[in-house]
């Protein structure tokens, strides 16, 4: 294992370091809170010669992602980053560049979507992109942000995959939060991640290619679209290979999901991203008083790791999926995906849905207690309640007060 120095880095700085150690050659950029520190840092590093290549400021996220995809289609390694409204402004391009099969890495710093407009995180932005053909890695720590970017390039550039990857971190809770991050040396990073050598999408005057083609006829479209699906499913095995090599070289190990004190647990929480840390703290408190509770953190959201989720939750009495997102008119998004993964299990756990942390709202220890009570009650009665919004009486009282100040009538 090579030398790795530790430094205090924000999640945004960890993301910039990931791009730097990956030797990204082209970075199209457009700033948006809470992502801006990433592109500011990269701008500096390109300007002072720390990074080699081209840093370009764009007129919008739509142009930014188009440029990213086009550059990647010439065969260079591309990094870019956005957040929230910016990701949605680039939305059609997500599908387009995934269809081009270009292995760029896009960091998304999660921020809840308007309206009402806000700055703090939830995951409706990144989950809106879940069907686009990008793979998705969701991070809990600043270290994981840096590490996942290096892994993301190696997965994306594998000839069995060749799909772009979104690496997600939570605004504020990671983006502006410093914690110690081990930074691999440039040599170690280069040994792990060799130069990108495409054989399918490149720019060579001697071998012209027509890329970004149009097709008419559903059987042609179906063929290429389903190749994306097969590529994404290949990424499950490729992820595990890449994670094993990463662990060997750097001593840090990542699975498609993370099981926390789950082995002998009767009850389980399912969470993702930075708030999973709060969930782990709650699990530790439950364990201290003898409750058999664990946590499953969803890390690889695309491709969705059905088998890993099944194996981790097998034999549990009840499971509560805490979605920090809301599919309006349906409910929690990852709840649906976990439910689908468990449907064919011969003895599947009772599965509860909680919506929490919308717009960065705190999930307090007391709320985790309530979630455990809901699971126990469901296990005792066999009755699974409908989706539960995690919203406290105290918060409701404060909300009423604010509505009064706003001159609104409280019904």
């Amino acid at each position: 294992m090579g030398p790795q120095r530790e430094e205090m880095l924000t999640g945004n700085m960890a993301a910039a370091w990931g791009a730097r150690l990956a030797r990204a050659e082209y970075v199209p950029a457009y700033p948006i809170t809470p992502q801006t520190e990433i592109v500011e840092t990269l701008a500096q590093w390109f300007a002072d010669g720390t990074m080699q290549g081209k840093f370009v400021t764009m007129d919008s996220e739509h142009s930014m992602l188009t440029a990213a995809g086009a550059a990647a289609a010439t065969g260079v390694r591309v990094f870019t980053a956005t957040s929230s409204q910016g990701l949605l402004y680039a939305f059609e391009v997500l599908y387009t560049v995934a269809g081009w099969r270009v292995p760029l890495v896009l960091v998304n710093v999660s921020r809840a979507l308007a309206s009402p407009i806000t700055l703090e995180p939830d995951h409706n932005d990144v989950l809106a992109a879940r069907d686009a053909g990008f793979l998705q890695i969701h991070c809990e720590t600043c270290q994981e942000v840096l590490d996942s970017i290096l892994m993301a390039y190696k997965i994306a550039e594998d000839p069995r995959v060749l799909l772009p990857v979104i690496v997600n971190l939570d605004g504020y809770y990671l983006s502006f939060t410093r914690e110690p991050v081990a930074i691999p040396s440039a040599e170690e990073a280069a040994a792990f991640l060799p130069p990108y050598e495409p054989h399918h999408a490149f720019f060579k005057a001697s071998r012209p290619l027509a890329q970004g083609i149009a097709v008419l006829g559903g059987f042609i479209y179906s063929y290429f679209r389903y190749q994306e699906q097969l590529a994404a499913r290949n990424a499950l095995a490729v992820h595990d290979e890449v994670a094993a090599e990463f662990a060997r070289r750097f001593g840090r190990s990542y699975g498609p999901v993370e099981a926390y004190r789950l082995e002998d647990a009767e009850y389980a929480l399912v969470m993702s991203n930075a708030f999973a840390t709060k969930g782990k703290a709650a699990v530790d408190l439950f364990r201290q008083r003898g409750e058999r509770v664990g946590l499953l953190r969803l890390r690889l959201l695309r491709p969705f790791p059905h088998e890993a989720v099944q194996a981790a939750l097998r034999g549990k009495r009840a499971v509560a999926v805490l979605d920090q997102n809301l599919s309006v008119g349906q409910g929690g998004i990852t709840y649906q995906e976990v439910a689908a993964a468990l449907y064919h299990e011969p003895s599947r756990p009772l599965l509860l849905s909680c919506i929490g942390g919308l717009g960065g709202k705190e999930i307090s220890a007391g709320e985790f207690e309530e979630v455990l009570e809901l699971m126990k009650e469901a296990a005792a009665t066999g009755q699974v309640p409908g989706p539960q919004l995690l919203y406290t009486e105290g918060e409701q009282t404060q909300m009423a007060h604010l509505l009064d100040i706003a001159g609104k009538e409280w019904g």
Binding site: W100, R101, Q227
Partner: protein, 304 residues
């Protein structure tokens, strides 16, 4: 159910013809679907339109692969593989071809070159359209009227109302609509009644589903590596006029060769120009540019 398919070129008005038939059948109280099929729209490229007429709700969508009636606005489409007007014709169906050629001669030509179980009928709707409307390509009203007659379930009153409605929606000025109506009613009268018979329903053959496999990205990604394969796409059928070189007037100046936007004119070893009629789209820039008027245009009278 009566299933009707229209074949024309962009600009012929076959979508409108299918709508005239659709609206007329609707006014007669039938359940109806009509729809056009086109991709990157452009004048001259083959387009197809469909009308379904039924006395029950129609449990079909999309293209008609087994038609009872096919109307071809331009006989050059008969051999266009993209248009494929012979697709699915059966013994009960009728193939109507807009052509000055007689039904008898056309039937013989079709039998010799592209045998079909369907019956053949021709009518010179272009001549009628030219005479009454003054523009040979404006075939929507006359082809629509022929379709109404051949469908066998539509009266002249419904045709008249439907034609007016569809052309008004296109924003045509009133005098032009009147001329179209006159042409449509004449086309309706001229077109004979021919009984149609729907194909007997056949059980769908099993298709054999595949399990898709991941292919190496050099093959399985959407790009084109082959250089110059446009030669495979024959665009000669788009011509309305054909440029013809009169070699006794040609002074071998090369101007037609240089100006042809499609690269469809080549020079032989004697520096005489030759036109590749498989790919010449009939833009007539060569006719315009030839300083000795050695390239002349001829009305494309087709192989049929």
């Amino acid at each position: 159910m009566i299933r009707v398919r229209f074949h024309g070129r962009g600009g012929h008005g076959m979508k409108t013809a299918s709508r005239i038939l659709g609206t007329a059948a609707f006014l007669e109280g039938f359940r109806v679907q009509d729809s056009p099929l086109y991709g990157a729209e452009r004048r001259g490229a083959p387009i197809t339109a469909f009308t379904r007429i039924n006395d029950h709700p129609i449990l079909e969508r999309g293209i008609i692969t087994i038609p009872d009636l096919v109307l071809v606005a331009d006989e050059t489409l008969l051999e266009d593989p993209l248009a494929n007007p012979f697709l699915g014709l059966h013994a009960g169906s009728l193939l109507f071809i807009n052509s000055p050629t007689s039904t008898q001669a056309m039937a013989e030509a079709v039998a010799a070159r592209h045998p079909t179980p369907a019956r053949i009928l021709t009518g010179d709707l272009t001549a009628l359209t030219l005479e009454k409307i003054g523009k040979a390509q404006a075939l929507s009203a006359t082809v629509g009227a022929a379709a109404c007659k051949l469908a066998g379930v539509i009266g002249m009153g419904a045709l008249e109302k439907a034609t007016r409605k569809e052309l008004e929606e296109l924003g045509l000025p009133s005098p032009l609509i009147d001329r179209n109506l006159e042409a449509a009613l004449l086309a309706f009268e001229q077109t004979p009644r021919v009984p149609l018979a729907s194909a007997p329903p056949q059980p769908a053959p099993l298709q054999g589903l595949v399990v898709p496999v991941y292919q190496p990205p050099a093959r399985g990604t959407p790009s084109v590596a082959a250089p110059g394969n446009i030669i495979l796409r024959k665009t000669g059928g788009w011509r309305i006029f054909r440029p013809v070189i009169e070699y006794d007037k040609c002074n071998q100046c090369w101007i037609c060769f240089v100006r042809c936007p499609e690269g469809a004119i080549s020079l032989d070893e004697k520096e005489d120009p030759h036109i590749d009629y498989d790919h010449c789209k009939g833009c007539l820039i060569c006719v315009e540019e030839c300083p000795t008027k050695a390239v002349v245009k001829e009305r494309e009278v087709h192989a049929w």
